[in-house]
């Protein structure tokens, strides 16, 4: 790895006078301080301004609680499907060459390029109750739009690339020889996968899944169109926060925001820790 070689040089060893380094450092600190630390600080100050009791009352408000619970539930269902399908897709993309495989690989990032609001609009157009497919499904008792399946579908769409793009590089780095050794020793393909490959890619699967989970906790654009936003039924936490801002209940908005943020930030820290364990080098930057 090049990084080990790069570490032999200390940054200041040959570089000219350090003022350039100091001013870069100052610019980075001020930029991140103003853009990120400041919003974070004002949110916490505002949410806890009136004390822990008020904060607790806001997050245990039944509608808020139901919204947070629904958000976590939908994100969890989506994450489970992503973990399985993402791993399978990454495996297929790295191990097999077939007609259209390169095109397939370039289309993986598509959900990153589509505005999530547009994703929501598309889902309503296909599955909405006044549409052909939607009406057909509804006649058979399946409601997707303005119901929970629509929320999960929207989340699956927008987080599709996460697990694939975290597992793929790890799969590529696994030496083919290790698999071949397992086969030669009499292991079946399935045994090779579960006993040799899976343990090596598990941290990547978990990181990708947690990232998609964190992303789903905050999703707004697609959900607001698809879910119908019925309190205690299809109202998710970000949409609840939006409603509280609109109705001037800033306390309620900031309390639930802090809860959501704490949740997703914990997950991000977990991802960082996992990646450090996996790569060792990630901690350097």
């Amino acid at each position: 790895m090049n990084a080990t070689r790069a570490r032999e040089y200390s940054p200041a060893s040959v570089a000219p006078l350090p003022w350039g380094r100091w001013s870069l450092r100052a610019v980075a600190l001020i930029w991140l301080g103003v853009m990120i630390a400041l919003p974070l600080a004002v949110l916490f100050e505002h949410g806890l301004r009136e004390g822990g009791v008020r904060f607790w009352a806001e997050i245990t408000n039944p509608v808020a609680l139901a919204a947070v619970r629904l958000t976590i539930f939908a994100a969890a269902v989506m994450t489970l499907i992503n973990a399985v399908m993402g791993t399978l897709t990454a495996y297929v993309l790295t191990r097999y060459r077939f007609f259209g495989s390169r095109l397939f690989n370039s289309l993986i990032d598509l959900p990153f390029a589509i505005p999530t609001l547009v994703t929501g609009v598309m889902l309503v157009l296909l599955y909405g109750p006044q549409r052909t497919l939607g009406a057909w499904l509804e006649a058979r008792g399946v409601q997707i739009i303005f119901a929970r399946p629509g929320i999960v579908l929207a989340l699956l769409f927008i987080t599709y690339p996460f697990v694939i793009r975290t597992v793929q590089p790890v799969l590529m780095a696994i030496e083919r020889e290790q698999e071949e050794a397992a086969w030669t020793l009499g292991a079946s393909r399935w045994e090779t996968f579960t006993k040799v490959i899976l343990p090596m890619i598990t941290p990547a699967i978990v990181s990708g899944s947690l990232l998609s989970f964190a992303r789903a906790l905050g999703e707004f654009g697609s959900i607001v169109v698809v879910a119908g936003n019925i309190p205690r039924s299809t109202l998710t936490a970000p949409v609840y926060v939006f409603g509280q801002i609109e109705s001037q209940n800033q306390m309620g908005a900031s309390a639930v925001s802090i809860l959501l943020l704490a949740l997703s930030f914990t997950l991000m820290l977990l991802v960082d820790w996992l990646q450090k364990r996996r790569g060792g080098e990630h901690g350097a930057g």
């Binding site: 974070l40 993309l93 390029a113 547009v118 157009l125 769409f157 654009g221």
Partner: protein, 285 residues
């Protein structure tokens, strides 16, 4: 090899040893293709069908209406401005994270990822808490006679915040991979920081940078929740393209919504192409 979070790194080149699937392996391949096809192709076709059946003439009329044209212009203006800011400061942050060493650099590293954990709604909300009525800086911006909330500056800050990590996260792994040898050689030969950056560092990271820039732009164009909260979506004033789609659906102006979705789709596909182009080149180097 890239191993940063959020799936925004470019995976290394596909292994040359990938093989054709045989027998049951075709079932895996079929599953990997049919899942995204079922998830995404339906909604994509639905919107294409809707757009085509409303006719290009009608859509063109909608798109050239003053409201739609202003919205599209505003989206492009915000996206270019946010991308420019994030490119410059993202480069500085990436350089500090990989080339500098000081106490607190680890914390800085965690701070960069924070916008990934923020729901867009919450991001917009923090700006209201900072600059809105009773906000921390209300007196300051009042005395300067500025408007931030429900005006362009707030929307630009929101868009910048939401797309902040992409450039830094795409460039940092490349900087680490390239190492400092060439830069140190340049310094030894008497080049200053500026010269070294332009003629050594930048050419080395250009494809990773392009990948990060296109992700930033895509995220900025598609932003909805944050600009809705902080801008209020006032027609012909703070209404962006995504907000225009949202309002058109509410007003049952489906043709207008389709027209804007198609306009955004064109931008999305250009960006997806740019991402793939950058990724392929990044892999080849």
């Amino acid at each position: 090899m890239a191993r940063d979070s959020a799936g925004i790194e470019s995976p290394p080149k596909a292994r040359k040893r990938a093989e054709s699937p045989r027998g049951l392996e075709w079932a895996l391949v079929a599953l990997a293709i049919l899942y995204p096809a079922a998830l995404m192709a339906g909604p994509l076709l639905a919107i294409l069908w809707g757009a085509l059946s409303s006719g290009f003439g009608a859509m063109a009329r909608q798109l050239t209406s003053p409201e739609a044209a202003t919205a599209l212009k505003l989206t492009l203006l915000l996206s270019f401005a946010a991308t420019a800011l994030n490119t410059v400061f993202g480069l500085v942050v990436a350089l500090v994270l990989t080339r500098d060493d000081f106490k607190g650099r680890r914390a800085l590293n965690g701070l960069v990822d924070l916008p990934f954990a923020f729901s867009p709604v919450i991001a917009g909300f923090t700006l209201i808490l900072l600059f809105g009525r009773n906000g921390w800086f209300m007196n300051l911006i009042d005395s300067l006679n500025l408007r931030v909330v429900f005006a362009l500056p707030g929307m630009l800050m929101a868009t910048t915040f939401i797309s902040l990590p992409f450039v830094a996260r795409a460039v940092a792994p490349v900087l680490r991979h390239v190492g400092q040898e060439q830069e140190n050689v340049a310094y030894t030969m008497g080049a200053g920081y500026w010269r070294t950056f332009w003629s050594v560092t930048l050419p080395n990271i250009r494809w990773g940078l392009l990948y990060g820039v296109s992700l930033t732009f895509a995220r900025a164009v598609g932003e909805f929740g944050a600009v809705l909260v902080v801008g209020g979506g006032v027609t012909r004033f703070t209404e962006t393209a995504t907000l225009y789609i949202y309002r058109s659906l509410d007003d049952r102006n489906e043709v207008g919504a389709y027209a804007m979705v198609l306009a955004l789709a064109v931008i999305s596909f250009c960006l997806l192409w740019l991402m793939e182009y950058a990724r392929k080149h990044a892999q080849d180097e």
